[in-house]
Amino acid sequence: MQDTADHEARLSHALGRWGAEGHRLLQLLHAVQTPSGYLAQDALQDLAQRLDLPLAHVRGVASFYSFLSTEPVGEFRVLFSDSITDRMEGSAELLDRMCRRLWVEPGRVSDDGLVSIGTTSCTGLCDQGPALLVNGRAIPRLDAARVDRICELILGREPVSRWPEQLFVIDDVIQRSDVLLRQQFPPGEALAAARRLAPAEVIAAVTRAGLRGRGGAGFPTGAKWAACAATAGPERYIVCNADEGEPGTFKDRVLLSRHADLVIEGMTIAAYAVGATRGLLYLRGEYLFLRDAIEAALERRRGAGLLGEWAPVPFDVELHLGAGAYVCGEESALLESLEGRRGIPRNRPPYPVTHGYRNRPTVVNNVETLCAVALIMLGGAAAYRSVGTQESAGTKLLSVAGDCARRGVYEFPFGVTVRQVLQAAGAGDAIAVQVGGPSGTCISVDEFDRTVCFEDLATGGAFTVFDRRRDMFEVARNYTHFFAHESCGFCTPCRVGTSMLARVVDKIHDGHGSRHELAELDQLIAALGKGAHCGLGHTAMNPVRDTLLRFAPAYERRLASTDFAPAFDLDAALAPARRMTGRDDPAAHLGDAS
């Protein structure tokens, strides 16, 4: 079942590609695992030995990432995207259909070891869901017919590499373009424009342009660069954060697919500005299908003398692949992951600009931010600054999905109202919009005149629409389970709190909730929001908090009438004893409290 026989071959190939370097452990694990993502004990041991790392360390890293498995998985490993929009479009039913066709329980490996089917966090295909990953490769636009076709291929033991290509076609749906998406220029032109300025002038221009980080936090890019440039160091790094993990967003996927050159050019300009010689592009594992194209773009640029040790700006970029860990979108966790460790957010200070990748001064920028950099170099700071609002210069790419007629990427100037976006997307009867994904804000109808910008509704790009058919409690429940699944487990409030939050929400869902549970939610919301270590934990309770505030009836109508009810079925708790004693008399059962 697991072709561990080949692991020797994979190991030597991996070491040839990446070198026996501990800080490339994650990439090595990627390369050593079986096609479906299994890492057997001997594979881990050999790798640990070759890298001279403790086995427990290697095991610990492997166990951190969803796409690496230290437990056997099927020869075909199917992971259904579990974003709320996938759910809304029937992913649960499709998963069930596949399980029945293939005679396997979700989360289990089929007896013949052929297949295992489970779920994974949002795969960034919400504009063409439902979607799934099979042995790491994304398949969008699922319906019954496609699921049946996939089942046939699996039952036919057809290697995924030989599956029909049309299954894997991912569309780049751009519904509205503005200054960024409209621009066309030959590779190198923005870099050339930058090189006409002194590095310090480039930073000054970016600062003048008022560019702020597009990941959502909105830190001024110029200030970040200046701090990095000001830090002495033998070597500086530019890291492109392409770990677009926020459920509901996919605009970076489109940028990398359509404008890879623009992204790399932005990185090169940043390198020129801060004096960095090395760059890393951290691509989320879900976007594996983009890797070859990006590698090709890098190669083209090296050929064109725009990249590489001997280029006018001596700078090169290494592409690293993530492995299914939302928390790695947090910049310091991303650095840990790049260094081949568990993606645990670092304690700060120090900050990456002074102590980043391998302790060197490092700039971490979002994909969209780097594209904007190229735009600023071409069009000038003033022109860029003239678009948007006082605090938020330029445009923002929004990933619009959910209940609307036209899903896809929309580029709007900052300051656009939610209502305008909804109109453009044809979302007539929306009752709520999740702006910025689960970690963002959930707003309801009477807030649709609020604006998308750092002053009001900051967003990394997710813009998920819900109409009156939707139950916002279920939306919050899905998001809450997402956080529980993605918590890195480092700090107490997030490790335990996100799980407890999910248990309490489930209890309410099961009809066992009461005022008592609402009080527990408040207690957990406080501990998470105030005690957590990083942004994931600080925002993990947003969905519950926001929906409690705006959609209270969705909770209240589920509360049991009693002042407290157990979370479980007491009569079922007697079942094992009934079985052992063969009893079924009235006293062998427990009813509800009377």
């Binding site: 007697l574 079942a575 094992p576 004893a577 052992m580 004693t581 063969g582 009893r583 062998a588 059962h589």
Partner: protein, 183 residues
């Protein structure tokens, strides 16, 4: 017997899946028992012959919930007691009996009733007179609402005394660091 102006506080106590250590610790208030019974009268309790809990001001429950009968008694107390107090480690966490919670109950029963070395005739008791054990041992607060908790195995007499006298004096019980122990 009870003062017409100030009726006595009615107190019920019981032990579920406990060892009676908490009740013994309650008796460890020693001579303080005598002034206490001037203010308090006992309802259902192992110390009295009252078999079922009537309307009470305070209910003290020792032990976790391990079988169907525990559930009935716990519900009887919750329904009748204005203030319900989880007394001791077992009531609050399931305690030592909860160490069976990661074991399969069936195997437990088998081990104890079918395979003991000194067992001549085995068989798992199955008479309807016997309450069936639950799959796990549960803390009280997972079955009913609990108002106050007195930790300890058992809580010291002073700790129990502090909570009772606080309640009798009409204020929210507060335990100092000294009085909060988990062993």
């Amino acid at each position: 017997m009870s003062d017409a102006l100030r009726p006595k506080i009615r107190l019920a106590t019981t032990s579920l899946a406990g060892c009676f250590g908490c009740h013994m610790s309650f008796l460890d208030i020693d001579e303080r028992l005598f002034p206490l019974v001037e203010l308090v009268e006992f309802d259902r309790s192992p110390l009295t012959d009252i078999k079922h809990c009537g309307a009470c001001d305070i209910g003290l429950i020792e032990g976790g919930v391990c079988n169907a009968e525990n559930v009935h008694v716990l519900r009887e107390f919750r329904a009748n007691c204005k203030v319900l107090i989880a007394l001791g480690a077992c009531a609050i966490t399931g305690g030592l009996p909860a160490q069976r919670n990661h074991l399969d109950l069936g195997l437990c029963l088998q081990e104890v009733y079918l395979t003991e070395p000194s067992l001549a005739r085995g068989g798992i008791p199955n008479d309807p007179e016997l309450p069936l054990p639950l799959d796990k041992v549960y803390p009280l607060h997972e079955i009913v609402r609990i108002d106050y908790y007195i930790p300890g195995c058992p809580p010291s007499a002073d700790t129990i005394w502090k909570v009772l006298t606080d309640l009798l004096a009409g204020h929210t019980p507060h335990l100092s660091e000294r009085l909060i122990r988990y062993d």
